[in-house]
Symmetry: D2
Subunit: 259 residues, 4 copies
């Protein structure tokens, strides 16, 4: 059941979504009329509350997927299809310590904070103060800010952590920061990158060849939706064809080559 | 640093992977000669230990991705591309209570156990005793068995849990168990399915229409790998073209239609 | 060089395309000012003619691709990605005799007429008179009508041809017309189908199993475009994800199964 | 009906394909026993002839698709999915004059020769004498050699034709030959390229920017096959994920930029 102070997702009859911290004394003004948050509390998750015009709003506990789609954004945020695979590939999970750069609007930060739990920490870097701030607001909104530390600094100067379990580098020229990344990571840890163009992927691969990273993988993930119709099942007419290339590598400690 | 009793992943010069619980008194017999686990302990994660023939084995802390690829399997297991997205879509995370059926070889169980952490629980059902056992062995091997409870029973008789946060139904005819699933779930929770054929998807969609589930989504995820070559970047020649269709829906509590 | 009476494609500075039969006495009124067709004749293919406002219009000989994109349509027409593969798969080429149903807006008819040349014939069926007419207009416009014969009749009554080299059945329930199709085709000839939903594909496959067709293939063709930018090469953000499933089969004359 | 001297395709019970010029005095020795070509002639297209062991061989008129799959190859040949779209995009058709380089094993040459018909001509260049020879043998085998002229020369020295309708440049560094290609083409004609790596595409785009070609398009075509099973329809498990990027452009004659 939702409790006062908790984040709920309210879905209108037309599918519009409202995220609100539950406060039983508040009235939400919607296009469908007034909705009493006290009613929302009473009906509980999975139920529906009626506006004063009698229109039903569904009351849902937001999943990570809902939260990511709900963040306030000033930049393109990562897509769930890319985030899900990245979590698994980086080995993010409860108790892990993870660095990301840049913070951006916080879509990725939110996922990292979700999965590291109360026993883990996310260290989120962005050179641009306004993005650190926006990211913090979005994590606050989702109730996950306590798991994140923000750093508004240029990563060319290095990260302040060492021995982190994983690192995600979502910047335009990641090949310039490979040494700084390696210095922050635990040996054997996994680093991830997201890059939109093939030219950048080529530059990154050339950079990695000269770095202490190995076991490199380059891939892209495509998500194809279908029309939900038992009698006429078929893929949607159009789809997102490209978000970015994902690149993963592992920090290694190699024996010096003989000779 | 690895500690005695911990699971490490050892990678041979040719890329062969060995998963072993570290015991400093043990010697591992490889195709490249004998490897002393005491050396592995000493070199630590990210380092390399030499066999008695002088061949270097890399020592890595396995990520979830490594573990999934390493499970002993008697059935096809879910692919990381499908697992990652499903975790996010179901809202799996630290502290969550999640049901899955069937257990199979435990690839999905492993991911669920990884993400719910020590404060969450996975309830894993399989009618076939031998799969419950295999799944348990694989979770033991990965050190995550304490987060899972197994049930060797027919889910037609219902699940023993209620109010679980999410449910994953990986069985051949899931439309036969929608009522049982709904009874186990918290209102607003998300259910997921994986089905290989379009005929099954059609049958499931027809079943969902008559159920208490809503907000249905049908999709598939494609992962395309690239050759790791800065000078000659190109997709791999061949790829996995199909694993299954993913279907997600939400447990709703609807107002009765006015009649 | 274009000749009076020939079809030319004129492309405006903004990329708008005009298809016109060249008549040197005509003036074309465009958003960029008046364009004298006499100038078009003089500048010739690959050249540019200026409007009275000094804006250049490129003069091109339309390819089949241009023509298909230029047909006047009242229905969805087949995409070039599907047409090209179908031509090859059906063995369409100079001198071939090919049946199609239905005519629709004539996109496919145009391609068939293009490839069979002056020595081949296309027999185009549509139950709906208005589509036979629209199709004929489009073929007239493209200068290919002499290679096509139209039939406004219900194909349930059968086709009027026999021994045709190939047949393309673009109707909603093609499994109802398999006998009629087989009767029209030469033994060993190839039949093609385009169907949007998996339910239809399933019904067609079930029908083909009981028919005299064999060597069945089901497939779909995806075309992914890239941004044309040498410095920032990447796929387009969005793409057409589905037009239809293509099914091909061959008319066989089987020995009776020994009983 | 097949005639003596014509190419037929014979398909064994296990699906093995034999292409043979029909000669009624010849006996074909197969893994299923001896097959009399006189029987093949008698049974005709779409029929079946029995070996002396009583095993049925289907007799088919090869389509272009069959021929392309049947050519004797020393190099990777283009895939039908890429060839079909290219034919349409280049505007190849009866009566057209088309240049290609290189000849390779002749898969593309065969398609070009098929579609230009007896009234068109294919000019096929390859620096390597042995490939001109192999290509010629394959076209001879398919009965289409009379439509092709071969040139064993370095295209850096230019093509011997002018005003050709279309040109296909399937070489490793096509950006080195853009001027030669433009000199051979009719204004407004379309040029096509097939390149396996993104690095090559980038180099080609950079080259085209400085050339007299415009209206550039970069794309790739994916073909996904399905299991032919009405009760269990699903995509194949694996697919060809990459053959090459297709690039198309048009020869333009631009007004000089003012100023």
């Amino acid at each position: 059941m939702p409790q006062a102070g908790q984040l709920v997702m309210l879905v209108s009859p037309k599918g519009k979504r409202y995220f609100r911290i539950v406060n039983p004394e508040v009235t939400l003004h919607t296009h469908d009329g007034k909705l009493e948050m006290a009613d929302v509390l009473e009906q509980g998750f999975g139920g529906q509350a009626l506006t004063h015009l009698g229109r039903p709003y569904s009351i849902l506990l937001p999943t990570l997927y809902d939260l990511i789609k709900g963040v306030k954004r000033h930049t393109q945020i990562m897509y769930p299809k890319d985030i899900g695979y990245t979590m698994l590939r980086l080995g993010v999970g409860p108790g892990k310590r993870v660095v990301e750069a840049g913070s951006g609007s916080g879509g990725m930060t939110l996922a990292l904070a979700w999965f590291v739990g109360d026993t883990g920490t996310v260290f989120s870097y962005d050179r641009r103060e306004e993005f650190s701030e926006l990211c913090r607001q979005n994590l606050d909104w989702a109730g996950l800010a306590s798991r994140v530390q923000w750093f508004s600094k240029d990563i060319a100067e290095g990260f302040e952590q060492t021995e982190v379990d994983a690192l995600f580098l979502d910047v335009r020229t990641p090949w310039e920061y490979l040494d700084q990344a390696a210095a922050a990571m635990t040996p054997g840890g996994t680093i991830g990158f997201l890059l939109p163009t093939t030219n950048q992927v080529q530059d990154l691969l050339a950079g990695i060849e000269k770095s202490s990273f190995g076991e490199v993988e380059v891939l892209e993930i495509l998500l194809r939706k279908y029309k939900v119709n038992a009698e006429r099942l078929r893929p949607d007419d159009r789809m997102v064809a490209h978000t970015g290339f994902l690149i993963f590598a592992r920090k290694t400690t190699r024996y010096p080559c003989p000779g």
